[in-house]
Symmetry: C2
């Protein structure tokens, strides 16, 4: 009869999983066991720490509702989502706009809007026009691409954080036959990820600021092209380089301009950004997205979908102090509007 040591126990687990019929599942689970055990051995995980880990994972799972995906948030804050996203992005068959995180606030239930429409129910003096062109890797326009956008409302919160029935600041547009898209939104705000759950506890106990730079999410699709999941980050934001979920990258930084003569809608600040889509490969059709509508992951069982994610007051105050407007001009920076 076998006796296990801290090393041979790993072999025993792999042996017991050796008959897994699905070759890819076998490969992934074997690697998961090896790395999990290597982690436990490296830190010499104690029973007390192990049970803390069990409690933490349980809390993360129990925090999930159709309106809240705490495991995606955990993956995001540990950089796993960004890593998977980067690896996936490298498999494109052509150069194209970089991907960014879908995040935990995407939802399938998004209204369609006419070209140029405003997605925010209360634009509240912060209107911004967005326009540009959807083209292929060679720069030729792609007609009629579908452009889905979502972002924080004027209070720095996503609609879904206020309850699953709320729908605001998200919309589906169609680019025209020359590939041009046009929409109106509000300046997004840099914001705290939800800090009122177990992942927030983790982030705060690591003394991280817990903020994402201001950004607008995009999901762009057209037949024959790889779906582009990305986001534009506003130039000048204080957290472009230390995004708590590691989503921001230099080629996705967008500038808000006043009086852009090329903007189709006059009299409003505007962002111009062109997107390039890569041709779809066979692999792309199976690749999926790094993120999902929480309702697609956690079925509704009547559980709490009440408002969540308000940051602790002292962290909100610290963020305001850190986001003092930069001298270089009126570019929005940090949590609260600079005007």
């Amino acid at each position: 009869m076998r006796e296990y040591t801290p090393l041979t126990i790993t072999d025993a687990v792999l042996e017991q999983m050796a008959e897994t019929p699905d070759a890819r599942m076998k490969e992934v689970m074997e690697a998961a066991v090896r790395h999990l055990h290597a982690f436990a051995r490296e830190v010499n995980l104690t029973p007390t720490e192990w049970i803390k880990g069990i409690e933490f994972m349980t809390k993360v799972g129990q925090a999930c509702t159709p309106a809240r995906q705490e495991f995606i948030l955990l993956s995001d804050t540990m950089g796993l989502s960004a890593l998977v996203n980067i690896m996936h992005d490298k498999t494109k068959v052509e150069e194209a706009t970089s991907a960014s995180l879908l995040g935990p606030f995407f939802r399938e239930n998004t209204p369609k809007f006419a070209t140029g429409a405003q997605i925010a129910k209360k634009p509240d003096g912060a209107e911004v026009v967005m326009y540009g062109r959807i083209a292929n890797a060679q720069g030729a326009p792609i007609p009629n691409a579908q452009v889905t956008v979502w972002q924080t409302a004027a209070d720095g919160r996503y609609d879904i954080q206020n309850g699953i029935e709320e729908i605001d600041c998200r919309g589906i547009f169609q680019a025209d036959d020359k590939g041009n898209y046009l929409l109106r939104t509000v300046r997004p705000l840099g914001y705290f990820i939800p800090l009122d759950g177990p992942v927030g506890q983790m982030v705060m106990s690591q003394k991280r600021h817990g903020m994402r730079p201001a950004h607008i999410h995009f999901l762009i699709s057209a037949p024959g092209y790889r779906e582009l999941v990305t986001a534009l980050y506003l130039a000048g934001d204080a957290h472009l380089d230390d995004d708590v979920v590691f989503g921001a990258s230099a080629d996705l930084v967008a500038h808000v301009k006043d009086g852009d003569p090329a903007c189709p809608i006059k009299g409003l600040p505007s962002i111009q950004f062109d997107f390039n889509l890569a041709r779809e490969s066979e692999a792309d059709r199976r690749a999926g997205r790094v993120g999902a509508d929480p309702a697609a992951v956690t079925a509704s069982d009547g559980k709490n979908t009440t408002p969540y994610g308000a940051p602790p007051p002292e962290m909100a105050a610290a963020a305001v102090a850190a986001a003092e407007p930069k001298k270089s001009g009126g570019i929005f920076s940090g949590l609260f509007r600079s005007r």
Copy 2:
């Protein structure tokens, strides 16, 4: 502004956690991030697989109730619990009885019994006497140690699987002033871990049999000694060497004997087993247990604590076939009683 690669993203995460005030938390979380990322890179985890993982972890969390700890079950079936247990066992300051898993069925709410009492409400013709001595590493008796036992009932299920209000086949005894303990129970049955949840889905999709060998759990404590969390496994069980949670070990195998002249209670089959406790060290007082009462991990919110864990009929049938009584005699083997 930084651009991440699959390797530099790991550095970025470690950098962002670098100010963690708790040195041990910093060490553990840094290792967790490094190993998690190494895993994702090694298997080149795709977005589709990542979201499957998110969904799986969410289901595991949502399956947890005050009567069911699915994350402990996940840890058990991936061999993490056994690994942590083995590492912890090696830190004993003296040789003593080996530890085994506390498992997901321990509960704090356990009744006290007088010496020699029967813990099963329905012994149902399967009574077994257990007796032996609790001694220190040098073999000197430890007086009045507390001995907690728990095991499956006559139907191969733990009480807690039938609802949180059920209490059966568990009890607390006190050894006498010479270190002798004595109790009556029923022959435990080899059993399926709960296969009706996400962990069961995983185990079945790995074509594992999903069974534990028949065993009796023990938690033995006395002032000045390291708490002993262990279990005795019945000799002859078909799954001693491929326990689905890797808990069985050779030095914890116990034999059921008929007509043992040394047994204090006559006319019943009996198990004799002596336990040795190691002196408690300073570290032991903080070390904790590899396991916990589910109710201590997941607070009651009125959620489902109805019966769980009945195996699929075809797996139950396969287990019966595999557990045909051995020719060597009447020693109990496998899922169902051989008499």
